[in-house]
Structures are given as structure tokens and as C-alpha cells.
């Protein structure tokens, strides 16, 4: 059953080939047996899952159940789950049990999806390797000496290891697409404002966006149908009808104009990654799409602009963790300041502290205009690059990340080396555009991701192109050793 896609599981559940309870138990057993090797899942909610599965089976029997009724999924541990610990990968929230569900969690619950547990992640979603998690790193199922990517590395590894057929994730600078690429799964970051951020623990509020991960584009479409919704509780959510993303998957890519940015194939790109991506583009061309070389001249500025904006917003968002109302409080504080300063020093890991300090620096008196103001202007330039490109192309495609999964510890002590991992993904967050990664090849037995960027609210077109590519190729069907059996 774990080798079936969500689309296939839905058919199986609705035709009573198997029940949701059987399916749920199967995935719980897999998590029990295989997860110790990957550390992808940090909380298993077996009892609630089986209860939800039994309820889903009743709904299925009654008829007219929603598509995802009875389908097991995992939530990234950044989404608040009522009564279930939500740690955000941090010691700060190791003891935090929210009294409410995030809107995304609520949407899946309404649809009857079964939550198996919560996935590991970089602390507060700050990282590209999962090495910053308080619960230890997730291991890449393709090569356990290598990183799964981050920050949604637990979700990506869990889907790759078939511990769940799909999972939720979030993306602030590449945190869905980069781990999807490194673990050989499909993942889409929707347009900013498409998915509610309510109950999704904030990192950088003007960039954060939730999205699904699964093995195929079709499964991502099914999950996004449920995940995307307008929400009064998120003031940045855009009130716009959610289309049925599965309805347009089968359209042809004939005459689709694909922009290929020359800046995404420059120095620093692994030759094997470049080969795989170019081969994928040629495949789409053979299917009838037209490749058009384009330029996104301000691409190189996206990493520096991001490392002002994201830490600045993070430093403000994370000020709420001070030991007063929830989360970690240090032992025996001598006074209020001591409680704040030690709770934060002991509760936050090194990377989170670094970003708070950088953000505080960029926002402090005398520096605001030179850093945050300037970065917001550069952000406008980056958005304009995309707007110009979309005058003449329908989608933009290139590599998701510069190279396949790297080994643990290999980025050394320089934080900037890690930051450059997101060089191709950050610009879409700054512009607020939707972007996806799908598997498109293998280098040294490690997956390579093809990135597909669309115009605002053009998720359907991205998913359509991804699905058409997957109809003609089988990279998305490959499984790491020992996982498919």
C-alpha cells in the first residue's frame, strides 16, 4: 500500500479495496520500523490516527466523502495541532502543546484526512540541511550520510521513505522545494497569500507560505485543493477562488512557453545537475513546449536581500518567545531581564540566535534604511525581473538547487556557504510567486530537482506542466534502496 500514490489510495479507499484503518495501521507500522533510521517523524499520534481512520471509514461507507477522506498524511511540526506537541524543531517549544489547530490542519481534518504525526524540521524553519533541529538531523533516505535539505527535511524524507504518501511543509526561502529536490519528491510552494498562515509558526511573515509535498504532481494537486483556502484569520491571505487543481492536469504542454533564465545556469552549478535539468527541459520541448532563454538580471541580489529581510522579520516574530506565557523558561531566574535573556539563550539554538542578532542589527537605529529599506527596494527590482519575464513566457524553469544532497557537516562553520544553497529558490519568495520542484534525474545515486516557477496564482499551470512531464518520465517513481519493498 505504501507504494501507491494518493490518487491511487483514494480509489482504493472509495472502492473498499482496503479501509482507512488498515492503511493507517500500515503506515504507522512503517514509521515504527523505518523512522529510527531517518529521524523524519518526531511525534507519532497513533491513537488519534486510528480513531480518525475509523471515523473516515464510516464517512466512506456513508458515501459522498471528500477526496482525502481516510488518506494518511504527516504535518510539519510548524503547524499548530490541537492537543499535540508543536515544537517547530526547537527546545524553546519542546513543551508546547497548542490549544488550537492551524487553519491548514483544520482543513485536512474537515476533509477526513488522517494525521499520522509531525515531521522534523530545522529549528524555526531556519536552515537548509535539517542540521539545526533540536531533535537531531533528518537523514536523507537516498544516502543516510547526507542531508535531506531543509527546512522541511522531515516531510521530504518521510515522503521519500514512504512513511506517508504526502505531507505538509512550509517555504520561506526554499524550504519546500530544496528538500523536495534533495529527497526526490514533488513539492509546491503556492503564491504568497494562497494558503492561510494562521497557526503556522511565523519565521518571516512576508515570505512564509505553506504547501504540500508528495511523490507526484497529481498528489500535490489533490493536497493543495484542501490546503488552499481564504482565511479571515490571516490578514495577508488573498480572497480568491481556489480552483480544482486536478481538473487541468491533463492539458497538453504544446506551445507552452518556458523561460530558461541564463542566471540559473551559471558558475557553481553542479555539472550533473545541469545535465539532468537540461535533459528534462529537452523532454518538455519534445512534448511540444517552446524553450526561450530569458534573463533575470537581479538574481544574484536575492540572497543578500533575503538575509536582511528574513532575519529582520524573524527577530520581530521571535520576540514573543521570552519565557513568560508559553515555551521554555530558564531555571531560577534572578529577575525579569535574566528570565528573558537566559530563556532565549538556552531555548534557541545557534542559527536562530544568529538570525535574531542579524535582524536586530539591520533594524537598529541608524541602520534601518541602509539595510531593511534597501533590501525592500531590491526586492522590488527582483519582482520586476519576473514581471518582465512573464510578459513573454508562461512558466520559468531551471534547477531547484546547485547540487545534489551534500554530506552532514560539509558546509563547515561559515553560515554563508549554507545560505547559498537557496540561491535559485529565494527569489520566488521575495516576489511572492509560486514555485515547485519535481524529480528530474539522478547524480551519484542522489536525486536532482527541476524547479518550475509560475506567475501569481498560476499553480494550476505549474502542476499541469509537472504532471505532463511525469506522464512521460519515471524519475518520480524511483525509491531509495529498501523503501519500496
Amino acid at each position: 500500500m505504501h507504494n501507491l500514490t494518493i490518487a491511487e489510495l483514494i480509489k482504493g479507499l472509495q472502492s473498499k479495496e482496503f479501509t482507512s484503518v488498515e492503511l493507517t495501521q500500515h503506515f504507522l507500522d512503517r514509521i515504527g520500523n523505518l523512522n529510527p533510521a531517518y529521524n523524519a517523524v518526531i511525534t507519532v499520534t497513533a491513537e488519534q490516527a486510528l480513531k480518525a481512520a475509523a471515523a473516515a471509514d464510516q464517512r466512506l461507507t456513508a458515501g459522498n466523502a471528500p477526496d482525502l477522506c481516510g488518506v494518511p498524511i504527516l504535518h510539519k511540526d510548524i503547524f499548530c495541532t490541537n492537543g499535540v506537541r508543536t515544537s517547530c524543531g526547537s527546545k524553546m517549544l519542546d513543551n508546547f502543546t497548542p490549544p488550537y489547530n492551524a487553519t491548514v490542519v483544520e482543513n485536512f481534518e474537515q476533509a477526513g484526512a488522517v494525521v499520522l504525526g509531525k515531521t522534523n524540521m530545522d529549528e524555526f524553519a531556519m536552515g537548509s540541511s535539517n542540521e539545526t533541529s533540536f531533535y537531531g538531523p533528518v537523514k536523507n533516505p537516498w544516502a543516510t550520510d547526507s542531508v535531506p535539505g531543509g527546512s522541511s527535511g522531515g516531510s521530504a524524507a518521510a515522503v521519500a521513505a514512504r512513511l506517508a504518501p504526502g505531507a505538509t511543509a512550509t517555504d520561506t526561502g526554499g524550504s519546500i522545494r530544496q528538500p523536495a529536490a534533495l529527497c526526490g519528491v514533488s513539492g509546491i510552494k503556492p503564491t504568497y497569500g494562497r494558503v492561510s498562515r494562521w497557526g503556522m509558526i511565523a519565521f518571516a511573515s512576508s515570505l512564509d507560505q505553506g504547501g504540500p509535498m508528495a511523490r507526484t504532481a497529481e498528489d500535490c494537486a489533490l493536497l493543495l485543493n484542501c490546503m488552499a483556502s481564504y482565511d479571515d484569520k490571516d490578514s495577508t491571505c488573498i480572497d480568491r477562488e481556489v480552483p480544482d487543481y486536478t481538473a487541468t492536469l491533463n492539458g497538453s504542454v504544446k506551445d507552452l512557453r518556458i523561460g530558461v533564465p541564463k542566471e540559473y545556469f551559471s558558475e557553481g552549478l553542479h555539472p550533473g545537475t545541469e545535465d539532468a535539468v537540461r535533459t528534462a527541459l529537452a523532454k518538455l520541448e519534445a512534448q511540444g513546449a517552446e524553450l526561450i532563454e530569458i534573463s533575470l538580471p537581479n538574481s544574484a541580489l536575492s540572497v543578500p536581500a533575503y538575509y536582511v529581510i528574513a532575519p529582520a522579520e524573524a527577530s520581530a516574530n521571535l520576540s514573543r518567545f521570552d519565557g513568560s506565557r508559553y515555551g521554555y523558561r530558564c531555571e531560577n531566574p534572578s529577575d525579569l531581564q535574566d528570565m528573558y535573556c537566559r530563556s532565549r539563550a538556552e531555548g534557541f539554538g545557534e542559527e536562530v540566535q544568529r538570525r535574531i542578532l542579524i535582524g536586530t542589527y539591520c533594524l537598529s537605529a541608524g541602520y534601518y534604511d541602509a539595510y531593511y529599506g534597501k533590501a525592500q527596494q531590491v526586492r522590488q527590482l527582483i519582482q520586476q525581473d519576473f514581471a518582465n519575464a512573464f510578459d513573454s513566457v508562461d512558466l520559468i524553469m531551471g534547477p531547484t538547487c546547485p547540487s545534489p544532497a551534500f554530506k552532514f557537516g560539509s558546509k563547515g562553520d561559515d553560515p554563508v556557504a549554507m545560505y547559498l544553497e537557496d540561491i535559485y529558490t529565494i527569489a520566488t519568495n521575495l516576489a511572492g510567486l509560486p514555485g515547485m520542484s519535481i524529480p528530474c534525474g539522478m547524480v551519484d545515486n542522489k536525486p536532482v530537482g527541476l524547479q518550475i516557477i509560475g506567475n501569481y496564482f498560476d499553480e494550476a499551470r505549474i502542476l499541469n506542466a509537472a504532471h505532463q512531464y511525469q506522464q512521460a518520465t519515471d524519475w518520480h517513481d524511483l525509491a531509495p534502496e529498501g523503501v519500496a519493498s
Partner: protein
């Protein structure tokens, strides 16, 4: 770019993060390396470019000033480090 020890101490105070004396040199070096990266922005000509704060230029929505939330004080305080009579307890603030 390196950051002076005093600057690190000021940032730590503003951020309410206790910094261990022995790690200041390392923190300074790593922050400096990130600031070198972001300083690339200074070379960009942004004259006349408007700062962007929302991708779709959305403005803040307003709603009627009505009570929409139920009282969940007990549930919300269940997860607090220390409470008393519905209040969050912290170390003494006023001497």
C-alpha cells in the same frame, strides 16, 4: 567586516539573548561574514525604487469591531510556565 565587541553586547541586550563571554569572538566573526554578504546591496542603485512590503500590494483588511473569539483563557494558560488566578507569573518586576 568585523563587528566590535561592544556592538555585539548591544545587539545581545536589544535581542534579550544572554551571550557567553567566551563565544563573543566567534559570534562576531560569523555575523561579520553574513554582513559581508548583505553589504552587496549597498552597491545597487535603487534611486526612485519603491520599497516592496507585500507582493500584491495588498493593504491591511479591516473588520467590524466585534468580539469574535471565545474566552479560552484556561486552555491558553494550561501551557504557561507559571500562572496564578488567571495571570501569568514572572519574576518580580518592581522592587
Amino acid at each position: 567586516m568585523s563587528i566590535e565587541r561592544q556592538e555585539i553586547e548591544k545587539l545581545a541586550t536589544l535581542s534579550r539573548i544572554a551571550i557567553n563571554e567566551s563565544t563573543i569572538a566567534e559570534v562576531s566573526q560569523r555575523l561579520g561574514s553574513v554582513l559581508d554578504l548583505v553589504d552587496q546591496l549597498q552597491a545597487v542603485n535603487t534611486e526612485g525604487v519603491e520599497a516592496m512590503s507585500h507582493p500584491m500590494q495588498a493593504t491591511q483588511r479591516l473588520r467590524e469591531d466585534e468580539v469574535t473569539e471565545l474566552n479560552q483563557r484556561d486552555a491558553l494558560q494550561a501551557t504557561a510556565p507559571e500562572t496564578e488566578d488567571g495571570l501569568f507569573l514572572v519574576p518580580k518586576v518592581i522592587e
